[in-house]
Symmetry: C2
Subunit: 155 residues, 2 copies
DNA sequence: GCGGGATAGATGAGCTGTCAACGATCTCGT
DNA sequence: ACGAGATCGTTGACAGCTCATCTATCCCGC
């Protein structure tokens, strides 16, 4: 008994489909806008934002990776590319010979400071303004619920 | 007057952050599971699903692209890769010398039929079961709202 | 002080997505 | 019947992501 059905109910499938479509469209448009406006990828933006907001412009590599919930390999490649373009720099870590500090360069600060207002404007225009404050709140609650549910689940 | 503020309110930012975090975590986990379970990428799955469900296993290239809302270049690369792995094939189109039909091969059918139940199970486990039917419904409504709002907006 | 396991991070291969440019065919007005 | 545009789809260059593997350092018990 009590076998979980093989497929979703029509309501469940409809909810899943529209969530997926919404999320893809939204992320896609924001990513493209960011690139057009600021010649930056979403990854660049996230890293610089986390580094400057939460880290004061200077963070240990793995702390940075954890702060955005990325695998270290992804962050390593990303930092490598950003370093090549002069957005961040690596500094040796005196306390730990294996470790590095990742530092936002002046060019990195300039980049995020120029990009952020436009990016926020697009988020507002495409997402926030689509919803009432109550809906926004509901969505936040639902997202939290899914997140905590996932944390309790194995992979 | 009435200038839109430079940043989001704390409530708006909280909603945006938890939505983004949820969506990334969820999609990431589903993608990894799909790959582990079925050696298929999310793109493979989407293409095969659309092709077999909506197209009866055979669709014009651009119809296929539109059905999943992808750019043609993305679909072209994807179809190329899938053809190389034997999941789909291209067939000439008698009516239009420029065009092609994309066809799901027997291997393609087998792949999607084996992958789908597990994938649905993960969607259920990670997403559907996190929420009450009412919440699921609310999320669907909110997603729809954002989608139609975006359609009315320029890029 | 040294040997084993854990930790910090880099690296390379292979797949995916984007953008811009391209070639081929179709359509339609004249 | 022919030339201009539109449409169908491909291609190449390049950035991004994942997975597995690797090196260097650190920590800790003996």
């Amino acid at each position: 008994m009590n076998a979980t059905p093989r497929w979703l109910t029509p309501e469940q499938k409809a909810a899943w489909d529209s969530f997926i479509r919404m999320q893809e469209t939204l992320i896609g448009r924001l990513t493209r806008q960011l690139h057009v406006d600021s010649r930056m990828s979403a990854s660049d933006f996230i890293v610089l934002a986390s580094l400057t907001e939460r880290g004061g412009g200077r963070m240990r590599f793995l702390d940075l990776a954890k702060s955005v919930e990325w695998e270290k390999s992804r962050m390593s490649h990303q930092v490598g590319r950003m370093a090549k373009r002069g957005l961040v720099a690596r500094e040796e870590c005196p306390d730990d010979g294996r470790g590095w500090f990742i530092v936002a360069t002046p060019a990195g600060y300039r980049a995020i400071e120029e990009a952020a207002p436009m990016h926020v404007a697009h988020v507002r225009r495409l997402f926030v303004e689509a919803l009432s404050p109550e809906e926004l709140d509901t969505l936040a609650r639902i997202s939290q619920r899914v997140l905590t549910h996932m944390e309790q689940q194995p992979d």
